[in-house]
Symmetry: C2
Subunit: 163 residues, 2 copies
C-alpha cells in the first residue's frame, strides 16, 4: 500500500473548537492508513485537554475490538482514573459502529462528535440509534458531519485502493 | 466484601454440551465476584476446545471496555490468529450489553449462548436486537436461558450485598 496521499491538518491550538479536535482525530486516521489499517481516528477531550488519541488497529493487533474509539476510551479511563467518562467528549472521524456506540453508552461519555455518517452500521442515528432503547441508562449528546467530506474521502480512497 | 458464597461447578468434560461450557463461564463469574467485580463470565469455544476465558474486570483495570465478553474476544482472536471469529461460539452468563453485542457482530462470532436475559440493556433480543438492524453485516445464532437461574442468583446476590 502506498503512503497516505492526504496531508495531516495543523490548525491553531488557540481556537479549541470542534474542527480543531476533529483535525486531531483526522490526523490519527492518516496514521492508521500508513499502518495499513482502515483510516479511522478518535480523540477524547476533558476540559479542552486531549486525554486520549488512537486510530483503528484491528489488523496489526489481530483484535476485532481494537477500533479507534475503544482504544481511546481505555486510555481516557486510565487518564482520569475512573471508568465513568461523563465529563468527556469523543471526537471520531466516522459515526461509531454498534460496538463503539455501545462502549460510548457503557462508559457514559457526555458527548460524541463525529465526521461522516454510517447509514449501514452507525449506532448513533445512522443505521439505528442506541439512545432510543427504552431503558438504556445513558444518552450522550451527539452531532455529526464535522469535517465529514475530508473524513469520508480518507476512508473511501483507502477502500478503493484495497479492492 | 465476603468471598463468593456460591461454589464453582465441575461438570464432566466427557459431555461437552452447552451446560458444560456455561459452567466454565459461571466459574469465571465466581472468580469475578472474588475480585469484587460484577460477577459475569465468558468463554469462547472453537471446535469444542476453549480458546478464551475471562470475567468482568472493569473496576480492577479501571476500563469500561473490560467486560468479560470483550476480554474473551481479544483472547480468541489472538488464539486463532484472525480477528474473524465466525467458527466460534461465545458462552456468557448474562445477555451481552450494547457494547458486547456490537463486538459479537464486529468479530463475526457464529453463535452466542447466554445465561440470564437482560431486558433493560441486552442487545441480542432482551432490550433490543442488533440482528434486526437492516443492513448489519453479520447475524449470529443466539440462544439464552442456559443455566439462567444460577447465573442470575450470582449477579443478584452480589448487587444486593453492594447496596
Amino acid at each position: 500500500m502506498d503512503p497516505c496521499p492526504f496531508k495531516k491538518k495543523f490548525l491553531s491550538q488557540l481556537k479549541r473548537d470542534d474542527l480543531y479536535f476533529m483535525s486531531l482525530a483526522y490526523n490519527e486516521a492518516v496514521d492508521g492508513w500508513n499502518e495499513d489499517e482502515i483510516p479511522i481516528g478518535a480523540v477524547i477531550v476533558f476540559g479542552n485537554q486531549v486525554i486520549a488519541s488512537a486510530h483503528n488497529n484491528v489488523c496489526k493487533l489481530v483484535d476485532p475490538t481494537a477500533h479507534a474509539e475503544m482504544l481511546a476510551i481505555t486510555q481516557a479511563a486510565k487518564a482520569i482514573g475512573d471508568w465513568r467518562l461523563n465529563e468527556t467528549r469523543l471526537y471520531v472521524t466516522k459515526e461509531p459502529c454498534p460496538m463503539c456506540s455501545g462502549a460510548v453508552i457503557m462508559s457514559r461519555i457526555g458527548e460524541v462528535i463525529f465526521g461522516l455518517d454510517d447509514m449501514k452500521m452507525g449506532g448513533l442515528g445512522g443505521a439505528f440509534d442506541l439512545r432510543s432503547v427504552d431503558k438504556i441508562n445513558h444518552r450522550p449528546l451527539v452531532h455529526g458531519q464535522v469535517m465529514d467530506a475530508e473524513c469520508h474521502a480518507l476512508i473511501r480512497d483507502f477502500l478503493e485502493r484495497k479492492r
